[in-house]
């Protein structure tokens, strides 16, 4: 075991577990304890999504860079952020959970990193995580845009006939083509 990827792979489950718990700790304490028990994806979707997301991200980091794998992992991140984007969090809290992975990794691997003296690799790994964090920010912004789009669409849908009547509009396509 000489590379950080190998170290990460060897400690994958423990790191996923730690990170997952750190993520759930961003919720009210009692809820965090309850949700940590995980379980049913339909009765407890937040925990299940967080868990699956955490697993996918860590697995991704154990592998070399690969655009395809990145795309897949972003889908998982999207699932997590979609939930957090509407949960009363500030943007940093909603999208910043990815930094908690750094905490999990540092806590778990610090001694090994010291022993093997692979700080360059560690810095590279953290940069990859930073990259994911930036991507998370994009995803968060997209979710919030979606939220506002939904608000706008709801408003329009809720009175579509009224608008039609108020403006006495004629739909393009109803008459002769230009």
């Amino acid at each position: 075991m000489n590379t950080i990827e190998e170290l990460l792979a060897a400690n994958r489950e423990a790191i996923v577990q730690d990170w997952y718990h750190h993520i759930l700790d961003t919720y009210p304490a009692e809820t965090a304890k309850l949700w940590k028990k995980g379980g049913d994806p339909f009765a407890n979707p937040v925990a299940v999504r967080s868990r699956q997301g955490a697993e996918a991200v860590v697995r991704y980091l154990t592998m070399a860079e690969d655009p395809k794998a990145l795309e897949a992992v972003l889908d998982f991140l999207d699932e997590m952020i979609r939930v957090r984007a509407v949960q009363n969090f500030t943007p940093s809290q909603a999208a910043g959970f990815i930094f908690l992975l750094k905490k999990a990794i540092r806590e778990k691997l610090w001694h090994d990193l010291k022993r093997l003296d692979i700080w360059e690799q560690f810095a590279a790994m953290e940069s990859r995580i930073d990259g994911l964090a930036l991507a998370s920010l994009d995803l968060y912004a997209k979710c919030r845009e979606k939220l506002h789009e939904i608000k706008y669409n709801d408003l329009e849908r809720s009175q579509v006939q009224l608008l039609k009547r108020a403006k006495l509009i004629v739909g393009i396509g109803e008459g002769e083509s230009a």
Partner: protein
């Protein structure tokens, strides 16, 4: 946590009071005065509460429907989850009261990833242990009638016989003693370890559990460890129910402790959530049929003076516009 500690300390203190007090020559108080007062409080309190509920009108028929309604003849009705007749409602209530039907619903999805499918397991632990606890409590309660009745009716000896059928130890072990303790311990344990429960639990959730546990344990101690003088206790019990109270000598302190805690339970009962014993029968979401489109349900305080904004008022408001739009009107402008 404050609630938990308070409840625990309260039960310990109550037990100590009885144990010490009886030892200090206050057996008349704990053997005669307290039980009469406690039972009086229980009876009066229970009746007051139930009468209070029953005398309050239930204005609307608001069954929570748990299955297909009575509908067209070819649609199969879920008769006992969505009853439409009094008979079906009776069965729904029986299932609720005797089998804890609603708790049984607590299904939980069991995601069997390895088998590549989603299956339905269930989270029935609360249902199972609650059922165990309540039925054991009932059997223990019935068994105790042998202390108050002479001769002991067949039914009670029958219950005792079945309960001690395994013939373990001398005196023979009652199964319900064991299961009662197991049940109450489970109910207590989940309050302590299930985070959502410890969050919502109050002192008055812990107190009855500790109290019942203390009653069960003191009873078990009396029977299996202290091996108290049962004949003497029966004399005391018969004395109480025949209103010729008598305190036989040589009754162990543990009896007074057990008996006092039971008295506390009687007296506490009507003022606590234990009244769910009575409330479950009166719960309007369960004890009413879903037949409200077939039979008119009467609300005694229905206010006939509440009238709609009438059509006439509406037409007065909009008549001209209605006429212009070609909508029919009752009065021309």
């Amino acid at each position: 946590m404050a609630g938990l500690m308070t409840a625990l300390l309260a039960v310990v203190a109550l037990a100590a009071v009885a144990a010490l007090g009886a030892g200090a020559g206050m057996s008349e108080v704990f053997g005669i005065a307290v039980p009469y007062v406690a039972v009086a409080i229980f009876v009066a309190g229970f009746i007051k509460k139930v009468v209070g509920w029953a005398s309050t009108p239930q204005p609307f028929s608001i069954a929570t429907t748990g299955g297909q309604q009575y509908s067209l003849p070819w649609v199969k009705q879920a008769k006992f989850d969505n009853p439409s007749t009094p008979g079906q409602t009776f069965i729904r209530m029986a299932l609720e009261v005797l089998c804890f039907r609603s708790l049984f619903r607590n299904t939980k999805l069991d995601n069997r990833v390895a088998e590549g499918r989603v299956a339905y397991g269930s989270d029935k632990s609360l249902w199972l242990f609650a059922l165990m606890f309540h039925y054991c409590f009932l059997v223990v309660f019935i068994r105790h009638f042998r202390f108050f009745l002479e001769p002991v009716p067949m039914i009670i000896t029958g219950v005792e016989f079945v309960d001690s059928i395994l013939q373990i130890g001398v005196p023979t072990l009652y199964l319900t003693d064991v299961f009662l303790v197991v049940g109450v311990t489970f109910l207590l344990a989940r309050r302590l370890w299930d985070p959502k429960l410890s969050y919502i639990s109050l002192a008055n959730d812990y107190f009855p559990l500790f109290l019942i546990l203390a009653i069960a344990l003191s009873g078990i101690y009396m029977r299996y460890v202290a091996k108290v003088d049962v004949i003497a206790i029966k004399q005391l019990a018969i004395g109480l129910v025949s209103f010729k109270p008598y305190i036989p000598p040589n009754i162990d302190w543990s009896f007074y402790m057990h008996f006092f805690l039971v008295c506390v339970l009687w007296a506490y009962f009507p003022f606590s959530k234990l009244m769910h014993l009575g409330g479950v029968f009166l719960s309007p979401t369960r004890n009413l049929p879903n037949n409200t489109r077939m039979e008119r349900y009467i609300n005694p305080w229905n206010d006939p003076s509440i009238k709609p904004h009438t059509y006439e008022e509406y037409e007065d408001d909009f008549r001209e516009k209605m006429i212009e739009a070609g909508l029919p009107v009752d009065k021309e402008a």
